[in-house]
Symmetry: C2
């Protein structure tokens, strides 16, 4: 990690970022692992800021994950501290003590309770996090806090990422303008149920914690939990949402409050945008792939089938080779373990059905499919012909670049 890789051909420029009232950020170089770049991000939230979170389901999570899971049981957050270069995972009791010491140090600096400080670490697993470097860098981080430092924050949390990731939406709750803005990092070890993926969404909206948590929990399904790069699930993933309340909108009664409808749409849309940025920075990616499954016996079944296709190395290498090798898609559907019937199964690419009901379409013309496969955004459709279940999953192709990035010594 940290070795510079060529910027992904699927990279997107940062959007026009603005400030979010109640949030100040900074990024400094603490020298944790990388040389000549920032690796520590601090965010300060105005008192009364509400927090919600979802976390990795990996059974061997890092100490910061355990800290945040406890911290999120009370609704308030005053700070977020994220370092890159070292994940503080599998570091035993020392890792736990590091987390406590960092939270303590931030609390002292910002005059808040340690349990209102949220922490995250991303990078190498199994090495002790040099907490002194972090704690020594905190005064500089505090001095640099400013409401405009979003790009700097997005850059400081990168590991093997080749471009910084952020998204923004400006909407209304009732008649009050509110803003949602988020940053994310992640490019390898990405799979559903959260991956080596950190994402932080901040809004100036005033929302009760149960509403914010509910938005996050249901929004993560069709976004971050519907992307996969390599089927590997990190020990450190988290998605946190912070609502500062500075917009002072009318109180929201619940997730189904009609005044919240526009916000909910924008929130979900922003989560998907951030998630797709992670896919587009998938290690070695040259193509973004969408797998859309319909006609499954249930939505859950459709999701599993879509993931089986999206995680298949044979499908992903075929797409890297611009080969519409739909036979491999059939194989991946069949291996999912979900209900499938060869004789009702259809496979399409780029809007063209190649096979229908168990055999190649009569007079199938490969021309539009070949053209589609040369593009950067590949669409695979699978129809099971069994029921109404559907799901969409995004991934990227599997290329030499993935091997280069991950096969290097202690990458």
């Amino acid at each position: 990690m940290g070795a510079p890789h060529a910027v992904s051909p699927l990279s997107r420029p940062l959007p026009d970022l603005a400030t979010v009232s109640g949030v100040r950020l900074s990024a400094v170089a603490a020298g944790i692992r990388y040389q000549g770049r920032t690796d520590l991000m601090l965010a300060e939230f105005t008192p009364g800021t509400i927090v919600a979170g979802v976390f990795t389901k990996n059974a061997c999570p890092g100490a910061p994950i355990q800290w945040c899971k406890t911290a999120v049981t009370t609704p308030y957050a005053r700070a977020l501290l994220v370092n890159s270069g070292n994940a503080n995972v599998f570091t035993g009791q020392a890792g736990v003590e590091t987390v406590e010491a960092c939270a303590e140090a931030v609390g002292k600096l910002l005059h808040c309770l340690p349990q209102d400080v949220f922490l995250a670490s991303t990078g190498v697993i199994g090495e002790k996090l040099p907490q002194d470097r972090i704690i020594n860098a905190l005064p500089a981080a505090e001095a640099a806090l400013a409401d405009a430092n979003w790009e700097e924050a997005a850059r400081a949390i990168m590991t093997t990422d080749t471009f910084p990731k952020a998204a923004r939406r400006d909407v209304h709750i009732g008649k009050t303008p509110v803003r949602i803005q988020g940053i994310a990092k992640g490019s390898g070890m990405i799979a559903p149920d959260m991956a080596t993926m950190l994402a932080y969404v901040m809004t100036d909206a005033k929302l009760p914690q149960n509403v914010l948590q509910s938005l996050l929990s249901s929004g993560v399904g069709p976004s971050f939990n519907s992307i996969t790069v390599d089927s590997d699930t990190s020990t450190s993933d988290m998605l946190l949402a912070f609502a500062t309340g500075a917009a002072d909108n009318e109180p929201v009664t619940g997730v189904h409050d009609p005044e919240l409808a526009e916000f909910t749409l924008a929130f979900n849309d922003l989560l998907l945008e951030l998630a797709l940025l992670v896919v587009r920075d998938g290690e070695g990616a040259t193509k973004q792939i969408r797998v859309a499954v319909t006609g499954a016996t249930s939505n859950i079944s459709a999701h599993k089938i879509a993931l089986s296709v999206a995680n298949s190395p044979l499908v992903k290498t075929a797409i890297a080779g611009e080969d519409a090798n739909w036979g491999r898609v059939v194989m991946a559907v069949g291996k999912s373990g979900e209900p499938a019937d060869r004789d009702t199964l259809s496979v399409g690419v780029g809007g063209t059905w190649i096979a229908r009901n168990g055999t190649v379409v009569e007079g199938y013309d490969e021309t539009p499919v070949v053209a589609h496969m040369r593009g950067q955004e590949i669409e695979i459709a699978v129809d099971l012909g069994l029921g109404e279940g559907e799901a969409r999953v995004w991934t990227c192709d599997l290329t030499h670049g993935y091997i280069d990035i991950n096969g290097a010594y202690r990458s």
Copy 2:
């Protein structure tokens, strides 16, 4: 498929092959897809030969799989016909008719019932199998039948395999000498529950079908169902065992008959040898990897954890890079979804424990581990510290070679 690839650095020379009384084989070039090589293998078994089989669990199997599943419900086999180059999968009703026509043609030639003819096809999915080329080649195949053609048979069934695979054991049932000899093919799309893997084990032993089926069903677990190359499961896998009875040993009363003990050990050992040959020919493989899991809550749980490690692209690329990146092993254990506790988890490489009970071993010396990682046979040990469950799984590393082989157009 079919493009010549460099022979795997892990290849093994063929063992000294002998004849198996009651079996005659041949290999011919039917021109199904490949030029300048054999692609059709025929085996003829003496009347009274008993057959048993296990098949892919892929829900979209090829027509030959369905044929054999039916054929194996009666105990007798007189012939086996295998073609490479085309899998006859996802070919609709035409595929079913092709299978019937081929069985009919072999039956006519060898004067046996079509249902005593076993069929297999391996290669590209979704293209119609040119049955005329097969049927036209049958007379030459029949004329070439001989009891010494084992190497020829092993070569004719290869697809992306870079070397032919066979194994032999000479043992006794009671006082009667018997022989077990098998051939296999497979190098990609290999995952548990049978993969693009064909294996045929033949013996001159006289065994009831229930005993042969029982030996096969229990032997496949720690051998073919404990290997994985890329987590992809083929639509065409099968493992068949044929017992000609020509050795005329004393009747075997059941699988637990003490007279069968030596045979059973040798049979299981031969299955594992064939399975490991498939791993050693894994597409792009440069290292064979054994993942041994102990201390899990059950054997089934241990098997799932071992597979999670063995299928992790991040673990496999790290090993390709000769990096003992045990943090990725921890990640893969954690993502398996099986019971695991970070604080009782230990990870070792090549006989050296790197991490014990959730943290790096005090004074860990990397020297022997670095030396081990440079070898061709890598051993990863995971101890969960929770129970008595254990399992072993074999895989290979993930290299540029895999991308080369599978990322080429219509490979």
